[in-house]
Each structure stands twice: as structure tokens, then as C-alpha cells.
Symmetry: C2
Subunit: 203 residues, 2 copies
DNA sequence: TAGATTGTTAATCGATTAACAATC
DNA sequence: TAGATTGTTAATCGATTAACAATC
């Protein structure tokens, strides 16, 4: 079991796109051509990518949408829930709480903040807790991800506290380059990157 | 003039990273090795990338940080200001208003919403305006970018209105796949992509 | 000078596209 | 059957890495 196929990085990125594109598909079958048109890529590339999956298409028919959806969801572990806390009680935290991350199998279980004046405020349904409860929250909810939404100057120190308490992945909204042990997963969410792309395309 | 160098896509993406990395550099010179260590890539790759620029490094010294910074900022047009409106008055809008996009040459000039009950509310310093004022705002501020922060069901229709009024680029936070003329710049900001990456790495 | 670092060319690696046989 | 569509192999293209001469 666990026939660890090697999935090329570029393919992996596109599989996420296919997964999302399928969300809005109503028909039972879809061809590589249709997927390709939607995403503005080549149909050959779609077929190549999908050939890494167990899922097989039928000539003259296309791919079974439900089957494809299921395999992609399994691949990304979307059907099992991963618990996440938000650290930093501000508008960004509020925006995150409003998003529906259940469709990618992520559940927000608490909002913490290092600023004591925010403790007790509400972010959506969550009453903001102080950092001291981290250990307790970790134990209770088996938290794996922390979305880091605090100010730049406290980012590194707070990240270190999170890691010390067993957080496995940090979703970093601070814009600060975090220096952490290599076994920790850090994913930077950098909005200015998109703006630079837009500015360049506008020229 | 305008010696349009061909910039490989992968290089372009990394130039954004170099630009950002240089923000926190205090020394007058930096070597490709130092940049590479910071970003966890190969120094050869850094030198190759930088060789596309006019900027030249000095053997035994490295690259002139100020010179490099200037050329990268010019390349991305960061020193000229591009005006942006936000469409949709919610927590995400609030989060965006709080960000400092001036460092990438983007200025928020107004917040509009299609929901009349939000008109008049404040998002940061901005009093929310109705969509009717779009034409006027466009004329007054020479708006080029719209950050689309509204609900999924109104996304396509609202995007079309924006385009009709001369918006050149849409920064799409709605999660909806927009179908727009190919001359319009659409950049999707999809937070769930990062979560899928994290979920996959956690396995 | 010796040594560190750049810049560039060649070699390798990986990703995309073209071509086409297999199949329903 | 004829034709549309998949799946795969080979060819091409692009990106990274290795190697090393040039230079300060």
C-alpha cells in the first residue's frame, strides 16, 4: 500500500486548480479539453497531469467528475479536518474567521492574541484568549496550524512560542521572513506579490 | 531606449523575492551567497537572475544594495503610484485598508459597495460609497485596480460593471472564476491554495 | 599576490508540447 | 463504422545547476 507516486511540483500546483474548477461542475463527465479551456492551459497538459492519478478517463466521454473530485480531495486530505488557531485579533483575523475553510478541511478552533487589551473581544464567534492558554488549546484541539496575523515586530518571537508548543505549520501573514527550524512548515501569504504582478502587467 | 530584455517567468517571480529581501538589508553590499542563503536557493541562480538586470556585482564585494533596490523598484514600477478602489465593505476590506501598500506603489482611494446598507459606514478612513459614484471616482483618481471583496453570487456581474467603467485590473478575492475579456488583468487571490499546500505537507 | 566572488557557458534536469496509436 | 477523446512516447523548450575563467 501507499504507492507513493512522484508528483512533479508543477503538476501538484495544477491539481489544486483542477480540484477547485471541479467544484462548480454539474455534469457527470468532463473532457480534458473542457478543463483546459476553463483554466486556459493545454488539454495535453491536463491529460498528462491526470495520468498521475489512479483515475482514468473514458475515450469519447471524458473523466468521471465525481471520481476525479474524490481522488483529488483524498490527495489533499480535504476530507479529514485539520485544526487551526489564529494568533492576532485584528481585521485580518476577522476576515479569516468569515471564510469557509471547511471545504478544504480546515477548522478554526480559537483566536489568541499577545496584546492583552484584545483579550475578551469577539472575533466572529470566538472570544479572544491570551497566549497563556496556548498549551491548553493545543492539547484540547490537537491544533496543527497557526495563522500568524500579528504585527511585524512580534512575529519572530511569537512564531517561536508557537513552535515550542507544538504547532506544526505557520501560515504567515506578517510579511516578516521567519527563521525557524527546517522541520516547521512555513507558508508566507504575501499580498504585495500580487500587486507587483498587477503593476508589471499594467505597464 | 526601452531595451525590452526578455525576463524568464521563473526569474521574474524571484526578482520579487529579492526586492522584498533587500528591504531589511542594512549593509551597503550583499553577495549572491547571502541572498541565496536567506531565500534558501542556489547562489548561482541568484547571479543568473541578477545578470538580467543592468546592475553589476563587484567580485569580492557583491552587489550594491542601494543600486539593486533602485533597479528592482523601477522594474516593478514601485516608485510611481497606482490608484486602487476596494469593492465590498467587509472585514477583508478593512484588513486591506490597514495594510501598507504604499511600499509597492499602490494607493487605496475609495471603498465602494453594492449593498446599500453598507453605504456611509466607515472602513478605516473611507466612508463607503455606492456603486453609482464609480464613474466619478474613476475620473477623479485615475483608478486602475479594483480589489473585489464581495460575495460570490455578485462577483461576475460586479466585475463586468467595473470593466465597463474602465478598470484595467481586478484583484479577485471572491474565489469565483471570472470570465472577462482577455485584455483585462485578473489576479486571483486564493487563500485556500496555501491551506492545501499546508495540508499536503502535514502528511 | 592570493582568494573571494562575479558572470557566463555548457550540461543537466524537468516541464510542456507534438504526435499518434489505442479505444470506446 | 467513423469520430472523438484518452493515454503515452518522443521531441522540444525552458529552467537550474555545474564548472570555471575573469576580476577586483
Amino acid at each position: 500500500m501507499g504507492e507513493m507516486i512522484h508528483l512533479p511540483r508543477a503538476t501538484f500546483e495544477r491539481l489544486k486548480m483542477y480540484r477547485k474548477a471541479l467544484e462548480s461542475v454539474k455534469k457527470p463527465f468532463i473532457s480534458s479539453d473542457e478543463i483546459a479551456k476553463f483554466l486556459e492551459i493545454n488539454p495535453e497538459l491536463v491529460r498528462k497531469d491526470l495520468s498521475y492519478l489512479k483515475c482514468q478517463g473514458k475515450p469519447r466521454v471524458g473523466y468521471d467528475v465525481e471520481e476525479l473530485r474524490k481522488e483529488l480531495n483524498d490527495l489533499f486530505g480535504v476530507n479529514s479536518t485539520t485544526n487551526m488557531i489564529i494568533v492576532g485579533a485584528n481585521d485580518l483575523a476577522r476576515a479569516l474567521v468569515n471564510q469557509d475553510f471547511s471545504k478544504v478541511g480546515v477548522k478554526i478552533v480559537a483566536v489568541l492574541d499577545i496584546e492583552s487589551e484584545n483579550v475578551g473581544k469577539f472575533i466572529g464567534e470566538f472570544s479572544v484568549r491570551e497566549m497563556d492558554v496556548l498549551e491548553r488549546v493545543m492539547r484540547r484541539f490537537n491544533v496543527e496550524i497557526a495563522a500568524l496575523c500579528i504585527s511585524r515586530d512580534k512575529a519572530q518571537a511569537t512564531a517561536e512560542i508557537l513552535i515550542k508548543n507544538g504547532i506544526k505549520a505557520i501560515w504567515n501573514f506578517t510579511g516578516v521572513h521567519l527563521e525557524l527550524p527546517s522541520n516547521v512548515i512555513v507558508v508566507d501569504e504575501d499580498l504585495t506579490k500580487s500587486l507587483l504582478t498587477i503593476k508589471h502587467l499594467l505597464k
